[in-house]
């Protein structure tokens, strides 16, 4: 544990407010915890307002309203208004499902800055299959309305083996809808995506083909649309610089008020993540065990301990190290220097084998029934 006095603590810049785990969609790569159904309590409107105020006072400026589906919270406009008064830049991260023109106007009036709409595929049948809900038409309509009312429009498409062949069509759809930003998020294997990994992970060849198409498109639309490409880290030789360093930038508050250094950290053992019902945000950020656990470099083991890239990637993702090796202190196995790198190679070949087999097992969709079985 690294909570020594010499580490300079920087204030949070990003607050991710996961308002609820309720969601009308059932995407099988959802990043919510598998057992989310167990954590069905939600903190009150006043609690959220206090969290927003305290984090803003410390220096948080980017605010994501997320979930689950944040639109299921009836107090969303009230929270948006509070955020605007505090000077946050607020991002609504939504499935778009159930978002009416009236609501879009109401949120604009309240001071919402931007709406990110997720679309699961470029065709109706695949979108509705992946989402587990008939939603393609309404998502397209929402994307148009977001644009019509002067918001920057970010389209987010999570990429996996079921839709990666649609890359050209996905790009054309983004252009047709007038997206200002397109997030091509290669699936990260946490939560539900981890459980469905064999069925979701594309092959190396599929990634290469899709990336080449996206790259050519990026040049074509330069100046009109910005593309965020979330890299498929299993196919890289170095890990991602997770959370820009633990406890340096990002603060996530889960629906039940649990404060997390990263949205997957609930599952890490022994962190004793604090709850906003018990402690203030400055106490949580500066003093809690969880937020100090991986601050700095004292915690690192070899090969990170003596690695000249430790300031670049901070040893990679703690949650990934835990999910894949059972030890959250280890080097992220994605790194080719990791002694556990064979786990990644095995995962890639297992997914490849699954892709070539005809009798694939079915995807596990993200819903309360399945969640209760974990």
């Amino acid at each position: 544990m690294a909570g020594s006095n010499k580490i300079k603590i920087t204030p949070p810049r990003w607050l991710l407010a996961e308002l609820t785990y309720k969601c009308p969609l059932q995407c099988p790569y959802c990043s919510n915890p598998l057992d989310y159904a167990k954590h069905n309590e939600e903190i009150s409107t006043d609690d959220w307002k206090r969290v927003l105020s305290e984090a803003r006072k410390m220096g948080a400026v980017q605010l994501g309203f997320s979930g689950g589906e944040p639109l299921t919270r009836q107090d969303l406009p009230e929270l948006v208004k509070h955020a605007r008064e505090l000077g946050y830049y607020s991002n609504l991260i939504t499935s778009g499902y159930g978002l009416t023109e009236e609501k879009i106007l109401q949120l604009k009036e309240a001071g919402l800055d931007h709406i990110q709409v997720s679309i699961q595929a470029s065709s109706q049948d695949l979108n509705d299959h992946i989402a587990g809900t008939e939603s393609f038409q309404s998502k397209q309509e929402v994307a148009r309305l977001v644009k019509k009312h002067g918001y920057p429009m970010v389209l987010c498409v999570v990429i996996h083996r079921e839709n990666i062949h649609q890359m050209s069509d996905i790009l054309a759809m983004a252009e047709e809808l007038g997206a200002d930003y397109l997030e091509l998020a290669n699936t990260q294997y946490y939560g539900w995506a981890h459980a469905n990994r064999d069925l979701l992970m594309p092959t190396q060849e599929q990634y290469q083909e899709a990336e080449a198409i996206a790259q050519a498109f990026k040049e074509k639309v330069a100046g009109k649309m910005k593309i965020y490409y979330v890299i498929p880290d299993f196919h890289e030789s170095r890990p991602k610089a997770c959370m820009n360093g633990w406890g340096t930038t990002f603060l996530t508050i889960a629906p039940d008020g649990l404060a997390l250094p990263c949205h997957s950290a609930r599952e890490l053992p022994g962190l004793d993540c604090p709850n906003v019902n018990d402690q203030s945000i400055p106490e949580i950020w500066n003093e809690s065990k969880a937020f100090n656990f991986f601050r700095g470099k004292e915690w690192m083991k070899e090969p990170c301990k003596s690695c000249d890239e430790q300031d670049k990637d901070f040893g990679g993702c703690r949650c990934q190290a835990y999910i894949l090796t059972g030890d959250m202190n280890k080097t992220d196995p994605v790194c080719s220097k990791s002694p556990d790198n064979n786990i990644i190679k095995d995962a890639i070949s297992s997914a490849r084998k699954s892709a070539l087999e005809s009798d694939e097992k079915p995807l596990i969709f993200r819903n309360s029934k399945n969640s209760k079985s974990f």
Partner: protein, 90 residues
């Protein structure tokens, strides 16, 4: 992308320019991102309020800071700003 000298320059409606007390600097905010500005960049962007073209921005800034010869630096920065979508010219 280059700045047209005769056209009015406007800060992008898809971005927000804001003073951050905690950081003691001006920043540009946009979907899920932030750019921290140094003082001179912030001063230039504040002039892009939809009332001035390039020459007026240069004149007003030279007057404000009681100096001359800023045109090249201002033009260079505005071209970067245009490329990044922080400002626009219709």
């Amino acid at each position: 992308m280059t700045i047209s000298p005769e056209k009015i320059i406007q800060f992008s409606p898809l971005h927000r320019l804001q003073w951050e007390e905690a950081q003691q600097k001006d920043v540009i905010l946009y979907p899920e991102g932030m750019v921290e500005l140094n003082q001179s960049s912030a001063e230039i962007l504040k002039m892009c309020d939809g009332t001035r073209a390039l020459d007026a921005i240069v004149t007003d800034l030279e007057e404000k800071f009681n100096t001359t010869g800023l045109k090249n630096d201002i033009t260079d920065f505005l071209e970067v700003a245009l490329k990044n979508g922080w400002i626009k010219q219709d």
